[in-house]
């Protein structure tokens, strides 16, 4: 999930005025009404001719898009974004009528609150049955009305076991003085605050001014120890030999493990959290039927497997998992042991305080 990197490219694109936009889709009149969830009918509703997919960069393999177009004749315009927030602002600005977006769980929660998502007609998405039941009915979409999980993952610790022999169990073992200058961290204020909260015995979503004040001294220490903050490609620092330990996305950790087994992945004992990136349909989408057909398409085990092979996060599609090789399934970063894990919730305006806290600590570094 090269989120930040593509954020940079996006912003540079703005500065140099070279951001391309797919042409707006002609109104797909064949789509169902604004309610979007036309009751299952005998005559199948027809999809529009084009599908505007707005998704993370480096997250949807081209062969999946090509396969879908070939089968359905629907042309897919794949526009990418670098962060949930970027997606939100473009979606809410209303420039293009996106048919399908790929937000993370806390953004789905916020969008549902604001009534910005169209409910899914499950009769058009029968393959939803392949999804791990444990990922259904979660807090951000308790009634399974709006989202289809794409990939899930954890945030955890990677250790270069050639260099570090001490047992590493949790965040507190990572952020030690003796590893100063050998640590990589995600460059993500919300994540860092969550780790500090978990390391202090609090819940990752318990973000209140009091709790922020409580974890501030700990975070201040941590920030001083870190060599690189990188959300785009934290694996690079490991591969370059610039760091030996760090807290990264599980997908990155999985790729490191594939590269060399010396990179072991550890879920922090203080509590690990889960992120779920899902597909959802904005209520303004002109081609809702096409969007649902796409959802169903990617839920096919053989298609979902393609995604997994390219981006080894945790595949929520149980049927697809059966098609993976034992090696892929044995990757501890992709498929860590089961356990109770929290997901991020929408925290509203206090996000600014989170950001300020981390910026402040970095600046006084």
């Amino acid at each position: 999930m090269k989120r930040r990197l593509f954020g940079l490219i996006f912003l540079l694109g703005i500065f140099f005025g070279c951001k391309e936009k797919p042409a707006p889709t002609p109104a797909a009149s064949a789509g169902p009404g604004p309610s979007g969830s036309g009751a299952p009918t005998a005559d199948k509703p027809k999809p529009g001719k084009e599908l505007n997919l707005f998704a993370w960069s480096e997250y949807v393999p081209q062969e999946v898009i090509d396969g879908f177009s070939k089968e359905t004749g629907i042309k897919v315009n794949y526009e990418t974004y670098a962060s949930n927030e970027e997606m939100l602002s473009k979606l809410l600005a209303g420039g293009t009528n996106y048919d399908l977006i790929q937000p993370s769980e806390y953004v789905i929660e916020a969008l549902v609150k604001q009534k910005k998502l169209a409910p899914i007609d499950w009769s058009l998405v029968p393959n939803f049955k392949n999804i791990d039941p444990k990922l259904k009915g979660l807090a951000h979409d308790p009634e399974n009305k709006y989202s289809v999980p794409w990939m899930t993952g954890t945030v955890g610790i990677v250790v270069n076991t050639d260099k570090i022999k001490d047992p590493i169990k949790g965040y507190k073992d990572v952020f030690q003085k003796k590893y100063k200058g050998r640590i990589v961290s995600l460059n993500d204020s919300r994540e860092m605050v969550a780790w500090a909260l978990e390391a202090s015995g609090l819940k990752s979503n318990d973000i209140t001014p009091e709790n922020l004040a409580k974890v501030k001294p700990m975070l201040a220490e941590w920030v001083k120890l870190v060599k690189v903050f990188d959300s785009d490609s934290p694996k690079t620092a490991f591969l370059n030999g610039d760091v030996d330990i760090g807290v990264v996305w599980s997908g990155e950790a999985a790729l490191l493990y594939q590269n060399n087994k010396k990179f072991s992945y550890i879920l922090p004992e203080e509590g690990a959290h889960l992120f779920i990136d899902s597909l959802a349909i904005p209520d303004s989408a002109p081609n809702k039927v096409g969007a649902m057909m796409f959802m169903d398409y990617i839920l096919r085990p053989e298609v979902s497997k393609l995604v997994s092979e390219k981006f080894p996060y945790t595949n929520p599609n149980l049927e697809a998992r059966k098609l993976l090789t034992p090696d892929q399934l044995a990757n501890p970063a992709s498929y860590p042991p089961a356990g109770e894990r929290e997901t991020f919730r929408d925290i509203g305006k206090i996000a600014s305080e989170v950001d300020k806290l981390v910026t402040d600590l970095k600046a006084s570094n």
Binding site: L11, L12, K227, N240, D242, D346, T359
Partner: protein
């Protein structure tokens, strides 16, 4: 009252531009309006607004974004940005001036080739060049390997993800912006003036200080502005080569429009920096005595 009243544009030079003048300027004005003035006005409006839960801009008037700008956290970052930008500018000047001078004095047929060499890096994406630098500077990269091989160091130098790396990246990125305007001034510099200085007893240093530098001042000023101002706002290099450890004001602003989802505050920061630039510009151009 004159018989030539029917031909107003023949006397247009010292007066307000005539219709033809406006027509000629129209594309530029349209460009400025659409891509400079309008976005700036939008930012100005945003900077007094508020944000809602989703991060959408809410149009209510408030000064709070500006009071937050003057929070010590952000002031400290701004100062640090100015500091790094100043170091970058100084290095660019010291490194770039001799290059520009040398190219500007080279025979014409060589000159264009040398200029092309300076421009060639622009043919590649900025990010790719930055990644190339990261590869060069990393612990197990070619630079360290070379130095180790030559026995000049015994353990790899820690350059990548340090402020040194940031300055290297900034200097690399902005050096051409220093070289080109200085080159423009040097090329216009009459060689006879340099010779006259030598002839009158000035050694290289004093010829430079008393004749060459003052006469290429416009290029130096332009180069300094072209490097200093964008260097303050640069965020990509700080993120990539500095490991995002030391935020610069550009990173903070970028973050407001991205992860932090606080456009109004980002806009307020941006407007403040813009004002700062305008003030710097005004100061440097006002004190130009060599304007003859």
């Amino acid at each position: 009252m004159t018989p030539t009243a029917g031909l107003p544009d023949t006397r247009g030079a010292e007066r307000a531009p005539g219709l033809r003048g406006w027509l000629l300027m129209a594309p530029l004005l349209a460009w400025l309006g659409a891509f400079v003035i309008a976005p700036t006005l939008i930012m100005l409006v945003y900077s007094f607004c508020d944000r809602d839960e989703l991060g959408q801009v809410v149009f209510t008037f408030s000064w709070s974004n500006y009071t937050r700008v003057f929070d010590p956290t952000y002031l400290k970052i701004l100062l640090k940005s100015v500091y790094y930008a100043a170091i970058t500018t100084a290095i660019c000047l010291v490194v770039g001036y001799p290059v520009a001078y040398w190219v500007g004095r080279a025979p014409e047929r060589v000159r264009n080739k040398l200029l092309a060499l300076i421009m060639i890096p622009f043919w590649t994406s900025f990010l790719i060049r930055t990644y190339a630098w990261m590869t060069i500077l990393k612990s197990e990269g070619p630079l360290n390997s070379l130095l180790l091989y030559l026995g000049m160091i015994s353990t790899p130098l820690d350059i990548l993800y340090t402020p040194t790396a940031v300055v290297i990246g900034l200097v690399y990125s902005y050096l051409p912006f220093m070289i080109l305007p200085i080159y423009g001034s040097v090329e216009k510099l009459d060689n006879a003036l340099v010779e006259a200085a030598f002839d009158l007893g000035a050694g290289p240093v004093r010829a430079f200080a008393s004749v060459i530098a003052p006469l290429t001042r416009p290029g130096i000023v332009a180069g300094v502005m072209l490097v200093f101002i964008p260097a303050i706002g640069m965020f990509a290099i700080t993120d990539l080569m500095g490991g995002a450890r030391v935020p610069m004001i550009g990173n903070v602003i970028q973050n407001q429009f991205g992860q932090a989802r606080d456009w109004p505050f980002g806009a307020a920061l941006g407007m403040t920096v813009l004002l700062l630039f305008a003030a710097t510009f005004w100061l440097t151009t006002k004190k130009d005595p060599s304007a003859t």
